[in-house]
Structures are given as structure tokens and as C-alpha cells.
Amino acid sequence: MVQQAQPVNQALEDLKEHHRTSTGQSHRKVLMWTFLGTECMFFGSLIATFLIYHNNVASGPDREHAFESLTLVSIMAFVLLASSFTMVLALAAARRGDEKMMRVWLLVTAFFGLFFIGAQGYEFWHFTQEGLTPHASLFGASFMVLTGFHGAHVTLGILWLVSVAALVRLHPKTDHRPIMATMLPKFLGFLSGVPKREPGTAIEARPRHRRFIAFVREQTQAPPPPVLPPDVSVKQFEAHHLAEEKVLNVELVGLYWHFVDIVWVVIFTVVYLFA
């Protein structure tokens, strides 16, 4: 079995780039890095706003008094760093095909994220009790907008992590079809009230939205399948390709999570430690 499997696997490895784009990279990964680049500018602006306004304290505690104790925020920093570590372990598990450990590490990461959000909620409540609110001063507003947006990113990341842990299967069936490809046309047909097209009807006779969908499908059609070597079946190739896509799902949520972590690295230093 092993003797036969190795050349087949080698052939699959040789073919793995076939489905790729003109850049040779996965569009989803390129898009994620582009998104993270835009997030750098977004958080850069928020941090700049905080640094400009941190001395403007009309009422409520000022920066030195608000951040007198660093115990809680230091624990939050350690927890988020630990979550980055468990995230990278989840990706490593996905890459070696260990679905169970991948799921465990993803959920541990989500748990650390929940802890972080809980601690941040407590911190906000504590500040509110001391009179530090978004309405109290520009310092309060810029601080809460910055850390609040980061908290929102963490929350989104937790939802994403749990979704990936629940939905990603590293051993997919080859007849799998994305739900949007099957449900969207049905949903649009339901909304428009147009009856289902009878077999044999010309495309021009279809309702407008169906013509649009057909046009989009034609324009975004995947490249033709490769000419496979005789020792590689179509099923094997599709399974291999799908497995790569599944691992990429974990990699993308990992990139997002690590980015959220490095944003906190900067916030921890600039907002809390500089005080």
C-alpha cells in the first residue's frame, strides 16, 4: 500500500499548483494579507488619535491614574500571546492532517479570546465606575474607541475560530458543493416568484437574475482540469485539492488572529506602558 501510495502522492504534489491563479497564489490568502494591510492603516489612525488626545481630560481620571495598575492588562497580554501560540499549533495540526488536535487547539484559542474579552469587559466596567467614559473626555473617547474596536476584532475572531473548528473537515467528500452555489439561485428564484425554468429553455428566455448568474458563472469559470498522470485518479486529485483548501481555512483565521495579537502588542505598549 505504502509502496503504491508514495508515487501517487508525489504526482499529486507535482500537480498541486495547477488550479492556482495567474499569480500562482491563492486569491483568498492574497485577499487576507491585503485586508490585514488595510487594518494596519485603520489601527494606525486610531492609535494616532489616542496619542493626540490622551492629555485632553475634561473630566474623569487622567491617563496616569487610569492605568496605575497594570496587573489585569498584563494578564490579558499574556493570554493573547498564548492564544497566538495555540493558534499556530492548530495550523500545524491541520497541516499534518490531525483533525482532532486542530479542533482542540482552535477551541483553546477561542477560549483564550473569550477570557480576553471578559477581562476587557471588566476593565471597561471598572473605568466606567471611576468616571472614565467616552463622554467624559477626549482621552476617554479615543481610548475606548481604540480598545473597543480591538475588542470587536477579537470577538469576530472568536466567532470565526469556533466556526472553523465546527465546520472544517480535513477529510472532505469530493462531491461537496459550496452551499451558496446551490442555495443562492433557489433563494433568488423564491424572491422573484418566477417558476423554475423548464428543461430545454434557452438562456435568453430565463429571468434576468438567472441570466446574470449564468453570466457570472461563465466569467468566473474555473480553469479546465489538468491532464492527470495515469496513476492519479480524478477523485484523488479533487480530494487533494479540497484538503488544501480546508487547511487554508485554518491558515486564514490564524493570520487574522495573529494580527489581532500584534495590534494588542502595540496597544499594550503605546496606551498602557507609556503612561
Binding site: 501517487v8 504534489e13 492603516m41 494606525g44 489538468p226 484523488q236 484538503a243 507609556f274
Partner: protein, 151 residues
């Protein structure tokens, strides 16, 4: 072995073109023999269509769990050092030390946890370019407005 994606002909790894149909191989897309994990990963991946053996499938360098543990330990130690530096009275030294330590943490996460080190240059460009734009925005806004004291 390099298999032509056009005709399926098997060529040597050094081949620039397919010997059968003259298809031009793109070097950056073709896996090298050393990059393909052999042995333990090969059989399950082929036999079950699993994700094993995909360590290089999306580019980037991948390390052992002990390596990642080492990176995490380094991050934790740097954070502790940061906390120690906060008690310094000399504001200039404190500021400089915190910036350096924070940058070190940032780089460790980006290079090793996000695997930007060893990954495709395109991703570095996509991330580092906007990062410097963001840093430029930060410095510009601070230079423009930090002297105003709004009441």
C-alpha cells in the same frame, strides 16, 4: 520528477520545458524534491486524500512545536522585561526600550507565527507596504495635531 500539467509527460526536475509538448515550466510554482515530505506523510495523504504532507502547500516555512514554544517563551520574557522597564524614571530610556521591545515582539509574531518569513514576497509587500503607510499616517497626524490642546 516534473509532470507537465498540459500533457502529463514526466520530465526531470531540471527541465525548463516539457520534452513532449514544449510546455514552459514556471520554476517558482514547481515543487522541488527536498520540499516534498516523504515517508510518514506520503502514504496517508495519498491513501485517504488527507491534508498530511501539505506543509509546503501554501508556501512559507513551518517549524516544530518546540520551535513555536520557544517563540512564545521569548514573547513572554520580552513582555516581562517590558513591565520591568515601566518602573524606570528616565523617560527617554524607558520610551526607547519599550519601542524596541515592542517591535521585537511584533516581528517575532509576524515572522514566525504568521510565517511571513520564508513565505512569498508578495505577502510581505502586501503587509509591510500598508504598515508603513499606517505608521506614516500616525506620525503625520501626531505632527499636525499634537500641539493643539482642545478644551
Amino acid at each position: 520528477m516534473k509532470i507537465c500539467p498540459q500533457c502529463g509527460h514526466k520530465n526531470s526536475y531540471e527541465a525548463k520545458f516539457c520534452n513532449n509538448c514544449a510546455f514552459r515550466f514556471r520554476e517558482e510554482l514547481m515543487p522541488r524534491p527536498a520540499a516534498a515530505p516523504a515517508g510518514a506523510h506520503a502514504a496517508p495523504a495519498a491513501a485517504h486524500g488527507e491534508a498530511a504532507g501539505h506543509a509546503e502547500a501554501h508556501g512559507g516555512s513551518h517549524h516544530s512545536q518546540m520551535f513555536y514554544l520557544g517563540v512564545f517563551a521569548a514573547l513572554a520574557v520580552i513582555t516581562l522585561i517590558e513591565l520591568v522597564f515601566t518602573s524606570l524614571d528616565n523617560q527617554v530610556v524607558k520610551l526607547a526600550a519599550l519601542i524596541i521591545l515592542s517591535t521585537a515582539k511584533f516581528c517575532l509574531v509576524v515572522m514566525f507565527f504568521m510565517h511571513l518569513k520564508g513565505d512569498k514576497k508578495l505577502y510581505t509587500l502586501l503587509f509591510v507596504g500598508p504598515f508603513f503607510i499606517g505608521a506614516g499616517i500616525l506620525l503625520t497626524l501626531m505632527a499636525l495635531f499634537s500641539n493643539f490642546q482642545l478644551r
